[in-house]
Symmetry: C2
Subunit: 229 residues, 2 copies
Amino acid sequence: MTVTYEFPRPNLAVDCVVFGLDEEDLKILLIQRAIPPFEGRWALPGGFVQIDETLEEAALRELREETGMQDLFLEQLYTFGAVGRDPRERVVSVAYYALVNLGDHEIEAATDARNAAWFSVDDLPQLAFDHTEIVQTALKRLKGKVIYEPVGFELLPRKFTLTQLQRMYEKILERPIDKRNFRKKILGMGLLQELDEVQVDVSHRAARLYRFDEKKYRRLRQRGFNFEI
Amino acid sequence: MTVTYEFPRPNLAVDCVVFGLDEEDLKILLIQRAIPPFEGRWALPGGFVQIDETLEEAALRELREETGMQDLFLEQLYTFGAVGRDPRERVVSVAYYALVNLGDHEIEAATDARNAAWFSVDDLPQLAFDHTEIVQTALKRLKGKVIYEPVGFELLPRKFTLTQLQRMYEKILERPIDKRNFRKKILGMGLLQELDEVQVDVSHRAARLYRFDEKKYRRLRQRGFNFEI
DNA sequence: TCAAAAGTGTTAAAAATACACCCATGG
DNA sequence: CCATGGGTGTATTTTTAACACTTTTGA
């Protein structure tokens, strides 16, 4: 490889904000740093970009290495380039955010013995580097995104109830939603397949299960349809 | 500076999509490359990020150096990291987009004798690197942005007519807008100051001039107001 | 039989859309 | 006096918002 200039250059990293949802809360996956700087502090999974991989590949690789997670919705968020954001040296970081279904994605014992855990977004510990800012940016993006694109389904199991769907929106948007209006609107779009199944193991009336119809969504979108909550 | 790892590392650059608007069209500022690769080909203004400047500072510096432009609306767009996007070596580029008022921003003779010129967005020449993709991404972002944030004013002179404002939206959104409904809506937001001035040097009835009330917008936004076209 | 969540329609208010003519000015 | 764009209001349709009770089920 020809290096065309020999000035000192910024290093390039990726960081990932992985969102998950359980009954209580919207959560984020953090790993505990094993080495300085910020040793022992919680941080976003991430690491340096290698010379022969794209940014997205780097993000997926780091997630796999640090948390064992695979096959998730991933989208570029923003690139953070403040000069002093890493106390050791200049590091510019391309942040990604991911959405996973907590049930499908158990955290593996991290291969390098680092601790990984889910934290509620409204009860985060102090984070390393500028990761608090990155998380805030991701939350804002997620909030803006779910209302005009059907990405929220990535946080739910493939089969879900309308109440689960509504709770997801309520958690992300941080506001209550009217049950009847919500059902009218979401069912009216015709993007949910009503299944012949209901919840099991609940101690009350079992709710009907639905599935998001990805194919139908793509078809409608090509004809100018715009999803909107 | 301590370099904590010694693998080959990606280089980091910035590229800028500068939008301008005239009577005819939405335009983009391009510079003609004086050196290989893509010698003679038109490209976005941009260059490598220095070790002691933020990404935004790098973007502003490159714009100043290559086009003489200063004091413009600038926002990060997306980071492009395909492995082969620069044929020489690995370069990851953080793209920005800028909005300027064509009247206020004459292009200076570029300091290093490179050619700079405005091109209509729907009549662009073949571009260097992946710059066509970057421009497409910027157009999409701009289209999405103007409808829920009042950034379009950056493309107009400080004093403008309602027809100029409407044309701006029509050019960006690529659809006709009803004149009466548009005026009703935009004036109804109360964000335009009606001035005691009218157009001069027009060969028909002179239109009233307005100014965007930035302070009022900030005040309203804090109280939960959301701009929307 | 009770507790817990599922499921279901209507009405009123607000917002969006469609639409056409007269006015002022300079050439 | 005419060509050019400036300026203006109403009626209709669509969308959003507010709101409460009955049903099903398992414990």
